[in-house]
Amino acid sequence: MLQPHFSLPMRILTVTVLLVGLIVIGNIVRPAVAHADYCDPEDALFIQQDKSVDAYGSEANIYLRDRDLDQSCSDRAAWSMVNVISRDYNNNAEAGYRELDGSPHTFTARVCWQMGNAQSCSYSASLNAGNWYAFKVASLGSNYFDGWYDSHDGTGWHLISSAGPDMGYSNGIAMAETGRHGENTGALDHHKGLTYKNALGDWPDWAQQFKSTTYGRSPDGVNGIPGYNYDKISNTEYEVCQNGGSCPWQ
């Protein structure tokens, strides 16, 4: 039986062509597999008042919109908050809601405290999607921040928790936040009635509003939430809209 004869260079060329082909295919296929989804760290968009304004508290009405939650993430969650962040941006006290997976999705009022790389949170009652709630986080003249919510049902403010740690600061930058885990988690959001607590204990309106350039970078380096944009309505109100969608959406 005749054996086909291939010279050594031809054999090398054949092997090389096959190798190149495999690598090319691998490079085409891999991005879809390796990149997949950013579940952690989180995506977050931060809106802030001017940092020269001393904020002892931060408050807003937030609409609890039931968002899609990325099923490919182990931590399926979305949230909206109001924050008082230290002037060096290293520490954060915040209150708002957190949406978790389930059938139906669950919403809880939440207050969190963050010191560098450590964070602690407390939850309270369940909330109902499709309604407006007011949230506030504030220091009571010390370095401790408490969180509250108001369901607008006539019962007033409800304490989420006053069990927070010593934050080492009593005032900082008033901010508001929209966040999510996973690129397929929705991020439509609406904050209005943004106020801050001043040194006198009063709650004036935000005098400015803009997107933070320091906070709120997503894992893929985008300043904000990929696929969504910030829509300023006034100094005290804004929406987070989906690119290409109706804006404002509510």
Partner: protein
């Protein structure tokens, strides 16, 4: 390494082809082997490119935040390159004009590569970040800012955070440390242990050292070094 391996293989292949090919077929054989070399080089480039593509999320990831309702400062959210929304100033004397305490540089690190200052703030509220590039730890952000916290108040901050370790709904950890000059410090570390930072009070100044590649050990080393320089300058 993959690129070197492919190029090495290509050279060996060429030498082997040259040794084994009779002169009569050398023209075709050499053309084929050269094509093979080009193809192998291309393969090497594609392989290296693929590795870089696979690594790019890690390379481009910024500190994710602070915040949420969720994971801590795996540190989200804020930028390592300009973590205070500051403006860069040309020199230490320029930054010194904005604060009432003496700025101190990290020993044995050379001059800061970048100096950031929060603009339009009073001296009491101004934060200065001195950035260094360390051969072992990469980017290091050294925060220096005035504080009204006393040592006792700072100790309460430390105790308060250490007490949260292991508690429900707590992520990351807090570690109380004592610097070589005897001052108390607080190290916070992400849940996966991949990143740490450190802060302490010295005089009327709060110092914080953060960076994307800092460990507990490197935090302590840098803090002891800077705290010693602050003591010497004082």
């Amino acid at each position: 390494m993959p690129e070197r391996w492919f190029l090495s293989m290509a050279v060996r292949t060429e030498l082997a082809a040259k040794a084994q090919s009779p002169d009569t077929s050398s023209s075709y054989a050499w053309s084929a082997s050269r094509v093979a070399i080009v193809m192998m080089t291309l393969a090497a480039c594609l392989l290296v490119g693929g590795i870089l593509t696979a690594c790019s999320p890690a390379l481009s990831a910024t500190r994710s935040s602070h915040s949420d309702g969720g994971a801590p400062a795996d540190a989200g959210g804020s930028s390592w390159q300009n973590p205070i929304d500051g403006v860069a100033v040309a020199s230490l004397p320029d930054a010194q004009q904005d604060v009432d305490f003496p700025l101190v540089t990290m020993p044995n690190m050379g001059s800061p590569s970048t100096i950031l200052v929060t603009p339009n703030e009073s001296a009491a509220d101004t934060v200065v970040v001195l950035q260094y590039q360390s051969s072992s730890s990469g980017l290091i952000n050294v925060y220096e800012e005035a504080t009204t916290m006393s040592s006792a108040e700072f100790q309460n901050v430390i105790n308060s955070w250490v007490a949260l370790n292991g508690q429900a709904n707590t992520t990351g950890s807090s570690t109380a440390v004592t610097l070589s000059n005897g001052l108390p410090g607080l190290i916070t570390t992400t849940s996966d242990g991949s990143n740490s930072d450190i802060r302490w009070i010295q005089g009327a100044v709060e110092y914080t050292i953060r960076g994307p590649s800092l460990t507990q050990q490197s935090c302590t080393t840098f803090a002891n070094s800077l705290a010693g320089a602050v003591s010497a300058a004082g």
